[in-house]
Homo-oligomer: 330 residues x 2
């Protein structure tokens, strides 16, 4: 198979953790040996092992038919383990990575240095790291190939590129297949859990005033047992029933207002709401994330606005479809 | 990688030709050598080469680094060519097929006999051919493995199973992402071409009377330059403007009425229409095929009905999402 085939597998894996790696980019990696796929992994969470490291560890497990007994997401331990392997352990292997391996020693050791030490037969990279000062990986690796499925690899890290300079605004919506958004919980528990994972990592959850008044949501992370996000209720009128649970979640701040100046700050902002919020925020929305349930409904609540999107990635979440899209111009 | 990985690749390929293989089932096949993928192919059209044959031919091309110069969809030629190869040419290869290879000599020679002669190292089959009298393939192959991703392989051929005994009814719909179905052509040319391919192979196109009165569609296959389908206008009132192009397409019959008795006959019926048709036919609909465009629209035409679906497969068609789903009970 051609390089594009393996890179696509790395991309698909990386999309599983889109947003969840904030403030890091989503990255996927595949390790092969003579065309055989040994590992398909992705970076899962900032501060834990990078995609390359997880893929190499998993390739080691496949090749040696053993199982690692430490937490492979502990980057220090994983790097130390890989560097202690016999020098030629991976010498016949190839690795595909959607993004140029990091060259700087940060929370985790440099992946470019690691790959250099392991001396794989081929390193194939989707795109260069577009952040200034992050371009040392290629130099360290010398003869790596670069430029496979570049557009797709660039789409994958668009949120990362945006939150370097201002807020990345992700509008989340759950709907039936005929576009109805009312009628209680629409999504599967797997989809709801995914929403709670996103709530946990975002800097702030933006919600419409009407949604708070009518649905009285708690907006916590009970499915993941994580820290509830700080909430901003976007409204011109501060007339809320302060007895609703939203205001009583531990370790969370709630602000009320219509000043969106904070969107100029590098951050990850999740927006939840219906038609009103979609219209009010439309000019600020970068991406939409739609959880589409396999139902047609006669509920009258829908959303009525004009918007052009580009579908970036779709996948199943239990019975639902999860559709990632970008807002584009006319 | 495990058998499931390769079988999934065969499944995804087969879905590209879902419906288009009528009256044959959709089938996919993958050929590997020491875990390397040599070929991923699918049956495309009744009367042409089966998936196994196309995959073996493609694997030959990969291994020999040559290109076949005859039409590989000519099953007779393809079988003859494969049988003339050195006896051990594929002896180290494995083949994954979503459905038990055919044992009977029909329009094309038997695939089970072919695989027996080529003596591959492994034959891995998704599911047994569920049609009575079609179960000779496994017997011929002796030590083939069976039962990989069985549920998915069964979903793939559900239309085939249905059109053995009555009409398989596929309701096709083009919509925006917020469920609007009005406002002219919504889909990309690639999606429209796919609709025309389905129109070409189906036995009859069922369309609602109101759609004919209001949209005055031609319902031909101009994107594929194929034979336009016979049309039945489903209505209680035969009051159409007979001057519209629909009635003047060559080699097509048009019938008008509300008698659906013909659905009892083994056949493939494509339904196009809006809310009225969806409600009128709801009890008869087996699957829905939705072409979802990456747009939100303010058009007021939507469809308002209750229905439970199960998403079976999704894929991109140019910029659109193509979603195959099955109607399920409450």
């Amino acid at each position: 198979m051609r390089d594009e085939f393996y890179m696509q597998l790395a991309l698909d894996k990386a999309w599983e953790y889109q947003g969840l790696t904030y403030p890091n980019p989503a990255v996927g990696a595949v390790v092969t040996l003579n065309g055989n796929i040994l590992a398909i992994e992705a970076h899962q969470k900032a501060g834990t092992s990078h995609a390359e490291v997880l893929a190499l560890i998993s390739a080691y497990e496949t090749l040696s038919n053993t199982q690692i007994d430490f937490d492979t997401n502990d980057a220090q331990k994983a790097h130390t383990f890989l560097l202690a392997l016999p020098k030629d352990f991976f010498s016949d292997c190839s690795i595909y990575v959607t993004l140029e391996p990091c060259s700087h020693e940060g929370k985790t050791p440099s992946c470019a240095s690691l790959l250099q030490s392991l001396a794989l037969s081929r390193v194939i990279i989707g795109i260069q790291d577009p952040i200034e000062g992050h371009d040392g990986g290629m130099k360290k690796l010398g003869n790596a190939s670069i430029g496979v499925l570049e557009d797709k690899c660039r789409d994958l890290i668009e949120p990362f590129m945006i939150w370097q300079r201002r807020a990345f605004v992700l509008f989340k919506l759950a709907q039936t297949t005929n576009g109805r958004i009312g009628g209680g919980y629409l999504s599967s528990e797997v989809s709801l859990t995914h929403v709670h994972q996103l709530r946990e990592v975002c800097d702030r959850l933006l919600i419409g005033g009407n949604t708070v008044r009518e649905d009285r949501p708690t907006l916590d992370c009970r499915f993941t047992k994580g820290k509830a996000p700080d909430v901003m209720i976007y409204t011109k009128e501060d007339n809320f029933d302060r007895d609703i649970p939203l205001f009583y979640v531990e370790n969370r701040t709630v602000s009320v207002g219509d000043d969106l100046i904070f969107l100029g700050k590098p951050s990850f902002i999740l927006v939840e709401g219906g038609e009103g919020m979609l219209k009010a925020l439309q000019k600020k929305i970068d991406w939409m994330l739609i959880y589409q349930t396999p139902k047609l409904s006669t509920h009258n609540l829908t959303y009525n606005t004009k918007m052009n999107l580009e579908f970036l990635h779709q996948d199943k979440k239990d019975v639902d479809l999860m559709i990632w899209s970008r807002q584009i111009g006319d």
